[in-house]
């Protein structure tokens, strides 16, 4: 006779064991159901679950006065840090490299007044035979500009901040997306793709009548 049978009848023991088995099954099914229905925000879902972005939004931002030039080389690393939301690596010696299929900068304007023009100095990352990188810009979700970087030199790219981007407040989110970003190896994850090197960023008040036309999106 087992020790347990000295105190509990076998049928009661069997019933208790069945109850334990059912409890385990119910609890595990409940946890599985909860796991399959995550309670996460849209940024988490987009990056980790759906994989629709390589740029995980973060709550960083820094105050910015119109006219300040922010260096994204090593000399400006400390200042640039809080503008970089996601999709950046570095700075390296030649600037801050984009990482993934899109990047984001965020600035909180201390003296917002339209019209504002953003100017970025960027150079493409190229790997032969690829000789160009397309970059699409949007500000606060509004598609603003598109450019094609050809050749290895640093280029100055300017884009006007749409008035509608400033309606909700003084914070600007500048998204850059790279349809031609280059993966380091054939089977590497998209989060490691490279497209541009950013060396500096600035915002200026644009003179009226000097609005630059929004770039047309080049064909594939």
């Amino acid at each position: 006779m087992r020790w347990s049978e000295q105190f509990v009848s076998p049928s009661l023991m069997g019933a208790a064991t069945y109850a334990l088995a059912i409890s385990l099954a119910v609890v595990e099914a409940g946890i599985l159901a909860a796991a399959l229905l995550p309670n996460v925000d849209s940024d988490y879902r987009a990056f980790y679950i759906d994989g629709t972005t390589t740029c995980l939004n973060r709550g960083v931002s820094a105050d910015y006065s119109i006219g300040e030039i922010v260096s994204f080389r090593r000399d400006g690393a400390k200042r640039a840090k809080d503008f970089k939301v996601c999709g950046w690596s570095g700075p390296a010696g030649d600037g801050t490299h984009s990482l993934g299929e899109s990047s984001r900068l965020r600035v909180r304007l201390t003296n917002a007044r339209s019209p504002i023009r953003a100017t970025l100095e960027i150079a493409p990352v190229l790997r032969p035979p690829q000789d160009r990188q397309r970059v699409f810009f949007s500000i606060n979700g509004i598609p603003t500009h598109a450019t094609t970087l050809i050749g290895p030199d640093i280029r100055s790219v300017s884009l006007d901040v749409p008035d509608s981007a400033l309606v909700k407040g003084p914070t600007l989110e500048l998204d850059l997306s790279y349809p031609d970003a280059i993966p380091p190896t054939r089977s590497a994850s998209a989060i490691y793709k490279r497209a541009i090197k950013l060396t500096s960023f600035r915002l200026n008040f644009a003179s009226l009548g000097q609005q630059i036309p929004t770039g047309s999106i080049p064909p594939n």
């Binding site: 385990l24 980790y48 679950i49």
Partner: protein, 363 residues
């Protein structure tokens, strides 16, 4: 025997570390703390990340399962040790315990036992078992499950499986080995009714099966409460750059990654060769009718291959059924046994240097 190999192993690894260094024990422990080690140390020290992560990084700590860092933290608290020392102590004790559990699994064959102890405590990958990684715990718990199954003690197997599933994700697949053993026992008993009916009439077996993934489910519940995503351990793999792909393609890419110069295989080649070797051992396990162990090891090798070859040497090198079978095969002849034993000890020195040097195949 484990104690002897433990001392030899520490001597060899310390010798490998001190080559070209001014040695100190604290620096030795730090030198062996490579790759995932720092993650476990951080988890044992500060716990898991919530979301958003405290330092705004994409790579939350959720990929690393909780049982090992929990044990390290407990040992550190009880013995008032700093976390790295506590982790090394924990790993060492676990590795020795894994050797002790292997004794009955090897049929008390002292030569096979010597080879296994030499491999774990003073072999080429002994730094995996004696530094800060989950390998010693995974090896010990897998051996405990196998021993419990050998004795048809399903409840004990289920309890150890639960712990194994809290150690590493693939640990949950040991339940398949249990199911196969239960099925084999059912066939032997010839009860005259279908397997499903038979098993429903055995509540203790039901509990044993259902409790097997309990560690994984507990961790999922914890992640659901703290992060909001019970599957965060899997979803965070994207931030580590792991993407699903074709394992055969990964193997082929690894095998064909010819070194730029010389004849020594490149890290991807080593990884691919070890993966292929591990799969061959799975076939041998199946051929010896150890179907459950073969299935478990196959899943433990193939599933990581769906992302890439990273860490595959460590994963294959820590699979108890493969190590046990290897020890049995290589100890049949005395001359082979002696040669293999010497090779294990010699390679401990060389591979420890490679580990400290950051060789990618050993990640």
């Amino acid at each position: 025997m484990p104690l002897a190999f433990l001392v030899i192993g520490y001597g060899l690894r310390y010798g490998a570390y001190s080559f070209g260094h001014t040695p100190s024990f604290a620096d030795y422990l730090q030198s062996l703390c490579r790759w995932d080690c720092s993650w476990y140390v951080r988890i044992a020290t500060d716990g898991y990340d919530g979301y958003p992560t405290a330092n705004q990084t994409n790579v939350g700590r959720w990929a690393f399962f909780p049982l090992y860092p929990l044990m390290v933290r407990t040992v550190g608290t009880v013995f008032q040790l700093e976390i790295l020392s506590a982790a090394v102590l924990t790993s060492t004790v676990l590795a020795c315990a894994a050797c002790l559990v292997a004794w009955p699994l090897l049929g008390k064959d002292s030569r096979a036992y010597a080879l296994l102890c030499a491999y774990v405590l003073s072999g080429p990958l002994s730094f995996h078992f004696t530094s800060v990684l989950t390998e010693p715990l995974f090896l010990l718990l897998t051996s405990c499950v196998l021993l419990a199954l050998k004795r048809s003690n399903y409840l004990a197997a289920g309890a150890f499986s639960a712990l194994l599933s809290a150690t590493r994700l693939v640990g949950v697949f040991i339940v398949l080995a249990s199911l196969l053993k239960i099925y084999q026992d059912y066939r032997l008993q010839r009860p005259g009714k279908p397997f499903a009916y038979w098993i429903l009439g055995k509540p203790q077996i039901l509990v044993a099966i259902l409790i097997s993934p309990a560690g994984l489910f507990a961790y999922m519940l914890y992640l659901r409460v703290t992060v909001g995503d019970g599957l965060a351990f899997g979803h965070v793999q994207r931030a580590f750059g792991r993407v699903a792909g074709n394992p055969i393609l990964f193997l082929w890419e690894g095998l064909s990654a010819v070194p730029a110069e010389g004849w020594i295989p490149s890290p991807p080649q080593w990884s691919a060769l070890v993966a292929v070797g591990g799969l061959f051992m799975c076939v041998l396990l199946a051929w010896r009718r150890q179907y459950g162990a073969a299935l478990f090891c196959t899943l433990c090798i193939v599933l990581p291959l769906f992302t890439n070859l990273a860490s595959i040497v460590r994963y294959v090198g820590g699979l108890a059924p493969i190590l046990l079978l290897g020890a049995q095969i290589l100890s049949i002849r005395t001359d082979v046994f002696i040669v293999v034993l010497l090779l294990l000890l010699a390679s401990c020195y060389l591979l420890t240097q490679a580990w400290i040097g950051g060789h990618l195949a050993l990640v």
